[in-house]
Symmetry: C2
Subunit: 148 residues, 2 copies
Amino acid sequence: MNRKIVPDIVKPREVISVSPDDNIIDSAVKMVDAHVAALVVFDDKENLVGIVTERDMTHRVVAKGLDTRTATVSEIMTENPDTLSPDDFAMEALDMMQSRHFRHLPVTDGGKVISMVSIRDLFAAVKTSLEEDIQETEAFVFGDRYGV
Amino acid sequence: MNRKIVPDIVKPREVISVSPDDNIIDSAVKMVDAHVAALVVFDDKENLVGIVTERDMTHRVVAKGLDTRTATVSEIMTENPDTLSPDDFAMEALDMMQSRHFRHLPVTDGGKVISMVSIRDLFAAVKTSLEEDIQETEAFVFGDRYGV
């Protein structure tokens, strides 16, 4: 039940990134190619300066009629996003993301982005964790061979 | 644990819809205004013919460089989407949506769309349900006043 963001929910991995000056179409193509719904935005020193999601593509690009050939990531990104720490607990991160309506958060360690977590990753892990708790409790109450 | 799609996960409600000939920008604006990430597509007899999501806006509009002033919903929608029934069980619907990578599904009753379910609605309900199961089991094992 005390699962942590790293390594229980996600492993450290390369996070797909764009720069604030990148083109919108190229950024959407990166999402498609990498099968992700969110990109981190790095400045030229690899500092995290923003996040761009499928929601931004819908709300801030398509709904606004933005010209995707000339607009840049800096116009649609969410600046200075909240982050998770590797040692954060999955259940608490999930509650926070639900209450603040976040769907993706970067995981940072010592200022460096080491992974990205989606609320669905967290839901899936917490669901598995709760199911294991129930199995363990049932094994305790009814004996180990209950349900076999 | 045997929660059903209706009424436990969602209530019957007006589902935000567009027509296949509708403009892409207007459809994105509808998503923004209604705070939804998916729209159903109805033909002129209110038959369900498709679904359009934020993912489609990213993958099939922005990444493709589609001209949002002239393109129509029919070009980007997923035709003949799967649907849920009001009597489907939440846990089974969740497993199905996870395995098929669906994030939204319309709920139909007698051929009529009566609601829309997101995988996050299902995760949240199943999580609550599992937590209640644990509380009940603990109350059974340790007595009603455990944890008070």
